[in-house]
Symmetry: C3
Subunit: 357 residues, 3 copies
């Protein structure tokens, strides 16, 4: 089944302006280096600008206003919009019909008799729903999903294969959990009794608010007491670790392989880049941005932009830097001594000069 | 069902002293900012001390002796103990009755006819136990658990959903494996035959000793030959990577997202903080502690405390540091030249001074 | 069942030369510190050379030619080869008979009626194959594997427990995916509409070429449009993150916990060490090698050898380094000022000297 829209219809959908033929028919989206006739493409990263000259697409989404058109040739047709990526997202949605689900519980799934399922819930074979669990209307549970006892899912959630929801954890509405995500594993809490490590029971839960999306194989630990919270609209990438009692605000972005240690709180719209590590019991203020691979050992003021990542350097040069690095304190001391010596001499000189004079 | 203990009973359990009313009834534990009447709370992190003034809890666990009481108001009751976190762990245990399992094998699980199961083993639906596998008394296998052929589990292990135990791997007693843990995946062993990469068969196993706990989605590779070992009582957090032939001693703590490369040996009670990376074929001595995000490229003496993590810095300032960093060797050379020049001049000066004299 | 080969037979297999008794019978391989009579061992890492003196093995694989034998004692027998690790891989293969699979689809697996399976496919209980999926001849699908709708697997692939292949993704021949691998999760693509984050539909696929192996719990996201590609013969370790639209060349090695951000391209035979992070939209040239924990913020020329990892340092010393690090720009400025002062004085001095003369 092919879905077709005219360029004008797409312009109307995204609030954009057409330069060229608004009646051209579009039936798909493709990246600029591959797009052909009948397809619309886009230019969201300047790196790909050079492909524009030979572009065979029927239309190109560009940033700006039609009046300010800076593209010389009018061979393809242009769709000017204020936010090309947002336009792309919406246009892609037009050509990607929502996947259809049968809204039924497979007889090969295991659903505890005391679980409560809303209308139109799709449960694939080999999924498991525990006792007194609640699954809201329109949820989709792929094969291998495990919903623990007394866990609660809101409406229209999608749980991809092998997702585990621990007992008593609560998931909001329209939450998307990708394959292998674990919600509600025990927090890493141990103490000592002499030489032995003793487990601190982890009796809290995880609460995930509406419109959260979490990437493949990420893990969110349950609280020791109380709850670990992922705020509304926050998006988490793959292989991210969220420790017990962490509280993440709304609309945050946590990029792949980042980790947040226990009890740390993130305000709204915080961005952690890939492989960032944040220590425990900290507060990361609203809107703060932390660059890739940075370590965060202290609380961070709102809207701070911090980083401590190191760019890869020719290995031999880097080894030479590493030779000097541990000597930095010594180097600073030498410099201070030199400064004193030179200025002392300058004074002596001056005095001497005076004496001479 | 509510469990109730008097404060005196709890004091006796943990070997503590009561200041206030020992007869007050406690039926739960809560964090200090949320605790109310009938609950006991604790003060294990100084950050939360300010909550003490308005605390509504019936009792507070504090560190120290009753005689040395430093808390002015006696509105709540106090339980003084030598180790508050240990007391908390035990008191939490009182109010967290062990989850009940039916000790039966679900007819919806798959258990090979040649597998041997001990008494009172709980196997949930959709779990799989391979041929000649052994599962000890009282083990609990959640949905989606896979126990490979000829793998052996000791007694009272808990394998959370989607845990995979590879064939022939051996797990001790009271081992807890959280959701998605993989034990016994192939080690990363390849060699070359001309331009082609050739797989080195990974025919060893993993051996996990008693009382080990491993966090969600962590992976432990089987040895090329022989065995990868996780020592007794060691606790591993989420998303940790343990490579082939690694040998970890007893009572170690390996925090989230750390990784240990092939054949490295850790002594007992080693602590690796989050996102640490340890290279292959090293020896990390007993009791060594490695700070967050540090890289360990060489063996480490016992009881060393090492780190190389970088704290996130205002991004613009960090960029300026990064401009200078590669020039450190040059900077050191300049400094040396200067030192020589200045001291040469000083000598000339002195000589000159003498001449002048 | 014991497999036995004479040392001469093994020598013929790997193209090596025997020093000693070629008729000695070998029935296994063991590491040098454990090997006993009837076993062959190897010396691939110089660290273990000291074990050679007391080695009880019937034969040792060594690097070099028999004529150049540098090992004094001839107590064990020696097998000299050009590439000991390659010889080890092949000899191990001799003693590790391929695991036998029954080539049947378990009635406890779920296979959609429209899926097409080749000859001799083994599907374990609790595996799931979606509609119109294709599984090539000789594939092995362990328990808990999920093959999405219209996904295509080539021949002789091994999918370990809990592997997820997303819908429409394509896997080549002889691909090995270890437990918990996720292929085809959605890329991390979001844009904003005012304060709300909006998901960019991820409608592309993942394509994995022949002879790729991917380690436990690694994740490969599907492209936004088009495809994410893992090139022929590339080997990926555990817990690695490959983002949407990444293209990886042939025969690369990506070590544990490395991550590659969106749309980045790797040439052939690139090596990323453990915990490396590569930013998005970059090109990493053929044969480039990046050291452990390094960050890659810019494109890399072919055959570059780069690193930026920091070796763990005694914690107190490191704290002193961290005190100076942010002052590096200031330090450089001070040094420059000093240089100017000293050379200015030198000039003054000279002038002065001339004047005096």
């Amino acid at each position: 089944m092919t879905i077709t829209r005219t360029l004008s219809e797409l312009a109307q959908l995204v609030g954009g302006e057409v330069v060229g033929d608004g009646n051209v028919e579009i039936s798909g989206v493709a990246p600029i280096e591959h797009a052909g006739p009948g397809e619309i493409t886009f230019l969201t990263h300047p790196k790909y600008r050079s492909f524009l000259a030979n572009c065979k697409a029927s239309a190109v989404i560009l940033s700006g206003k039609a009046g300010a058109a800076s593209v010389p040739s009018s061979r393809p047709n242009y769709l000017y919009v204020a936010q090309p990526t947002l336009a792309l997202a919406r246009i892609l949605g037009q050509f990607t019909p929502p996947q259809s689900y049968d809204g039924r519980v497979s007889p090969l799934a295991t659903v505890h008799e005391s679980a409560r399922l809303g209308l139109n819930v799709t449960v694939y074979p080999q999924a498991y729903i525990g006792s007194e669990a609640v699954v809201g209307e329109g949820c989709i549970l792929y094969p291998g999903v495990v919903v623990g006892d007394r866990a609660v899912l809101g409406e229209h959630c999608v749980l991809h294969p092998q997702v585990t929801i621990g007992e008593r954890c609560r998931i909001g509405n329209r939450v998307i959990l990708h394959a292998g995500v674990v919600i509600g594993s025990d927090g890493f809490g141990f103490t000592e009794d002499g030489a032995e490590r003793v487990k601190i029971p982890q009796v809290g839960v995880v609460e995930i608010e509406d419109d959260v999306e979490i990437g493949a194989n990420s893990t969110v630990d349950r609280a020791t007491l109380g709850k670990t919270v992922i705020g509304r609209g926050t998006k988490i990438d793959n292989l991210v670790h969220i420790a017990h009692n962490v509280v993440i605000g709304e609309q945050c972005l946590i990029i792949a392989q980042a980790g947040i240690a226990g009890s740390t709180k993130l305000g709204s719209r915080v961005i952690l880049a890939g492989q960032v590590g944040v220590l425990n019991h900290l507060e990361i203020g609203e809107g703060a941005m932390i660059g890739p691979q940075s370590g965060v050992p202290h609380s961070v003021a709102p809207y701070s932009v911090l980083s401590s990542g190191l760019p890869a350097t020719p290995h031999k040069e880097w080894l030479r830097v590493l030779m000097v690095l541990p000597r930095l304190p010594e180097l600073l001391n030498k410099l201070r001594t030199l400064e004193r010596n030179v200025s002392a001499k300058a004074r002596t000189k001056k005095k001497g000069a005076k004496t001479h004079a």
